[in-house]
Every structure is written in structure tokens, then in C-alpha cells.
């Protein structure tokens, strides 16, 4: 029984490590998509960014949402016409359903028309975020 117990323990640690590594390789990376158009009123906002919007979907129970907000805020502030909007999706469940949000933060990259052009699950990697954002600004349509 002791041998089986040791094997179970080892298998658990291995499984948890594999899960963690899988999560780490996928999190924070931008996926290019061509999604629907988001309207400002859906977000409780007056307007979107003139050139692009970083739409951060958060909840109050989210360890990475604060650091993500600071990162997105800084990236937006460094580029004219780019706006960072943070929305509590636990208050706007329609958005959570529409974009099938399973993890927070999820960041949607919107172009000048409000169309979803990219999606980042988890805390964005700063270098990849900057690259995706610059690419989006260079190819407005």
C-alpha cells in the first residue's frame, strides 16, 4: 500500500506540473481573431479609442487583473488614440457569454471600428502585447 501511495503522490505532482506548464505556455499570448464589433454602450463607456481599444475583461476576484490594468494602461497611454477600458464581466454577464470568457483577465484588442482583432487570455506578456498593438495600428482595416 505504501508503494501505491508513493506512486499516487508522484503521479499527482507530475500531473499538476504538466497542467501548470501547459497553462504557462498558453497564457498571456495574443491570438489573432476577426470577431464581432463591440459598441461602447455595451461596456458602459462613452466611446472607444479613436485608433484602438484594449478591452480588459476582469472580475473582482482576480489576482492578475490589477497588474494587467497597469500594464494595459501604460501601453495605451504611450500611444495616441489608444484607450484602455476595464469592465467587470461578473456585472455584465452578457459580455462574458458573448465572448465565452472562461478566465480573467481576458483582453480583447479592438480596432478603430470596435471590431475584435485579437484576444489575450491571462496577464499579457508585455513584449507580445506591444507587438500585437503596433501591428493592429499599422493595419487599421
Amino acid at each position: 500500500m505504501v508503494v501505491i501511495a508513493a506512486l499516487v503522490v508522484a503521479a499527482l505532482v507530475l500531473a499538476a506540473s504538466v497542467l501548470g506548464l501547459l497553462w504557462r505556455t498558453t497564457t498571456g499570448r495574443a491570438r489573432r481573431v476577426r470577431g464581432p464589433v463591440v459598441r461602447p454602450h455595451e461596456l458602459g463607456a462613452d466611446a472607444l479609442g479613436a485608433r484602438a481599444t484594449l478591452l480588459q475583461l476582469s472580475t473582482p476576484m482576480c489576482t492578475q487583473c490589477g497588474p494587467t490594468a497597469r500594464l494595459l494602461g501604460a501601453e495605451a497611454a504611450a500611444r495616441p488614440g489608444v484607450l484602455h477600458l476595464e469592465v467587470d464581466v461578473s456585472e455584465r454577464l452578457g459580455l462574458a457569454d458573448r465572448f465565452q470568457v472562461l478566465q480573467t483577465p481576458t483582453t480583447l484588442l479592438l480596432d478603430a471600428d470596435g471590431r475584435v482583432r485579437g484576444r489575450i487570455g491571462g496577464r499579457p506578456r508585455p513584449d507580445l502585447l506591444a507587438r500585437e498593438l503596433d501591428l493592429l495600428l499599422e493595419s487599421p482595416a
Binding site: 500500500m1 505504501v2 501505491i4 501511495a5 508513493a6 499516487v8 503522490v9 499527482l12 505532482v13 500531473a15 499538476a16 506540473s17 497542467l19 501548470g20 497553462w23 504557462r24 497564457t27 458602459g44 480588459q56 476582469s58 472580475t59 473582482p60 476576484m61 482576480c62 489576482t63 492578475q64 487583473c65 490589477g66 497588474p67 490594468a69 497597469r70 494602461g73 495605451a76 497611454a77 484607450l83 484602455h84 477600458l85 476595464e86 469592465v87 467587470d88 464581466v89 461578473s90 456585472e91 454577464l93 452578457g94 462574458a96 457569454d97 470568457v101 472562461l102 478566465q103 480573467t104
Partner: protein, 156 residues
């Protein structure tokens, strides 16, 4: 800029909950070992202790958790100041999820179901390990899923 999710009032050094999660993960792993090795009583008792610690974190708040005191007393002085503080609400909620999982396992184990304690401990271990090693808060991610499913809050 933006407003909504602002108001992040009580904050915590993000390394404190991870430190606590590491201790919890080790305790839960020992619990799995004891349970599978046949020491049912020891496994149930240890799970009861971990459940009580989760309850402490969930209901008194993560900042009052004994692991947090340990961290501030012995670990924090040896580290550089944290780069970012995080909202205490999220790790406190994760403690509540841990409490629900372990208290359910405890109840089923006390009802006489074999291996209930090590199975619950294994599930909770997964979350504690991911938190400690990878800084991934599984309990926090469940919040939105539970709200979307209508278990928490009000579905509009």
C-alpha cells in the same frame, strides 16, 4: 483610462498567499499519501486540520491567516519589497473554494466512504500546487464560472 473594477482596497503581498499555498500543498500531499497507504484516521484528521485552516482564511480573510503571519514575520524580511500588491479579496475567495472542496471531502469521508479524504485532498492539492508554483489561482478563475452558472450572485 478606466474605472469600474477599481477600488482595490485591502491589498496583500502576492507572495504571501503563494507561500501559504506551498505549505497547504505539502500538507495535502501528505494527506493523499496517508489516505492511500491505509491510514484512514490520520488522513481524515489531517484533512480536518487543513479544512480548518481554509475556513480561517475564507472567513477571517487571507490577511489574518496564520500562514500570512508566518510570512510577514520570517519570510518577508528576507525578500525585496513586492513589485505589485494584489487585492486580498481574490486569495480570500480562493480559500473559500478550498474550504468547500475539503469540507465536502470530510463530510463524505465521515459518512464512511473510503478514499473520500485523499480524493478531496488530491483535488485541493492541484489548486494549491498551481498557485504556489505557477502563480495560477484556480479558485479565482472559478468565480466568474460560478457567477455565469448562477451559483453566485444574481443572473440578470
Amino acid at each position: 483610462m478606466s474605472a469600474p473594477v477599481a477600488a482595490r482596497p485591502t491589498t496583500v503581498d502576492p507572495r504571501a498567499p503563494r507561500f501559504g499555498a506551498a505549505i497547504t500543498a505539502v500538507l495535502l500531499l501528505v494527506d493523499v499519501f496517508l489516505g492511500v497507504a491505509g491510514s484512514t484516521l490520520a488522513s481524515v484528521l489531517l484533512l480536518a486540520a487543513v479544512t480548518a485552516l481554509f475556513a480561517w482564511g475564507a472567513f477571517a480573510g487571507i490577511r489574518r491567516h496564520p500562514y500570512g503571519l508566518l510570512f510577514r514575520r520570517f519570510v518577508r524580511p528576507r525578500l525585496a519589497p513586492p513589485g505589485d500588491l494584489e487585492d486580498a479579496a481574490a486569495p480570500t475567495f480562493a480559500q473559500l473554494i478550498g474550504f468547500v472542496v475539503t469540507v465536502a471531502g470530510l463530510a463524505v469521508a465521515l459518512a464512511g466512504v473510503p478514499l473520500a479524504a485523499p480524493i478531496a485532498a488530491g483535488v485541493a492539492f492541484l489548486a494549491a500546487f498551481l498557485n504556489a508554483v505557477f502563480d495560477f489561482c484556480l479558485g479565482c478563475e472559478l468565480y466568474l464560472l460560478l457567477v455565469r452558472a448562477g451559483v453566485l450572485g444574481r443572473r440578470r
